[in-house]
């Protein structure tokens, strides 16, 4: 079962990576990259790295990709999506897929996995990562904040329109 899941996710990851490289339209590439990042997040979960999976979805698929899509929209304005919706048949599939997903959520909710407390603590659980970050890697962690501040200031300096 785990092998099956791994191969499905791996296939999706490779296919979306190829889509990113091969599609001409950068916005399609960005959406493919979101799929790829989601697949990598799923693989993190399979490896027992829950914290990284959540961070991957929030930081990469959320924040960074929004930045990318924003930049693409600003820089390539001539390929605006206008006219009739090219994905009209997809709407017919949307309802059954939505029902299926709802059913899945219900099944997960009912499953005994949620009710039994986790007994094993793999070395990569969120507690040990947090303890490492604030003990062994405390100095790099603080340097990271300086890095983010430097990036913030640098972006503001770059993006400011020169008035002269």
């Amino acid at each position: 079962m785990q092998h099956f899941a791994f191969f499905v996710i791996a296939f999706l990851a490779v296919a979306s990576a190829l889509g990113l490289v091969l599609r001409r339209n950068p916005i399609h590439g960005a959406l493919f990259l979101v799929v790829n990042l989601g697949c990598v997040a799923a693989l993190y979960l399979m490896l027992g790295a829950e914290f990284l999976a959540a961070a991957q979805v929030i930081i990469y698929a959320g924040a960074i990709m929004v930045l990318f899509v924003f930049a693409i929209m600003v820089l390539i304005p001539k390929k605006e999506e206008t006219g009739p919706d090219p994905l009209r048949p997809a709407r017919l599939v949307a309802v059954p897929v939505g029902v299926l997903l709802l059913l899945e959520i219900w099944l997960v909710w009912k499953s005994p996995l949620l009710s039994t407390p986790g007994s094993i603590h793999p070395p990569g659980d969120i507690g040990s990562v947090g303890r490492l970050l604030f003990s062994t890697y405390l100095f790099p962690f603080e340097v990271t904040s300086v890095l983010l501040l430097a990036a913030l200031v640098g972006v503001l300096a770059l993006a400011k329109r020169r008035s002269s």
């Binding site: 914290f51 990284l52 600003v74 770059l158």
Partner: protein
């Protein structure tokens, strides 16, 4: 249990696709996204090795890589926007000069 070598192999494939993207494409935005792909492949390899050797250090390292990637994307996109303002074209072939 899926052996870690599968994850390493997948990571290698994703990294290769990212390298090909950087080499083949001319749009700097797509090149940037390919770089993100490579960073992700490296992260995946790190997590797989951390799982193999039973330490959480790899995950702390991946956390730092993610932070650096976020900073890098912000600065890189700002640079691309600044270049676009100057040149009004978006192709790395135009950017062969160090100054103009």
């Amino acid at each position: 249990m899926v052996p870690e070598s599968y994850y390493i192999g997948l990571s290698a494939i994703l990294f290769t696709v990212g390298v090909v993207g950087v080499l083949v494409r001319r749009n700097p935005l797509v090149i940037f996204m390919s770089i993100e792909l490579m960073l992700n492949a490296a992260n995946l390899a790190l997590v797989a090795f951390g799982h193999r050797f039973g330490t959480a250090d790899a995950q702390a390292l991946v956390f730092f890589v993610m932070t650096v990637a976020a900073a890098e994307v912000a600065v890189g996109l700002a640079i691309i926007v600044a270049i676009f303002r100057l040149r009004h074209r978006l192709s790395v072939d135009d950017l062969s000069l160090m100054r103009w």
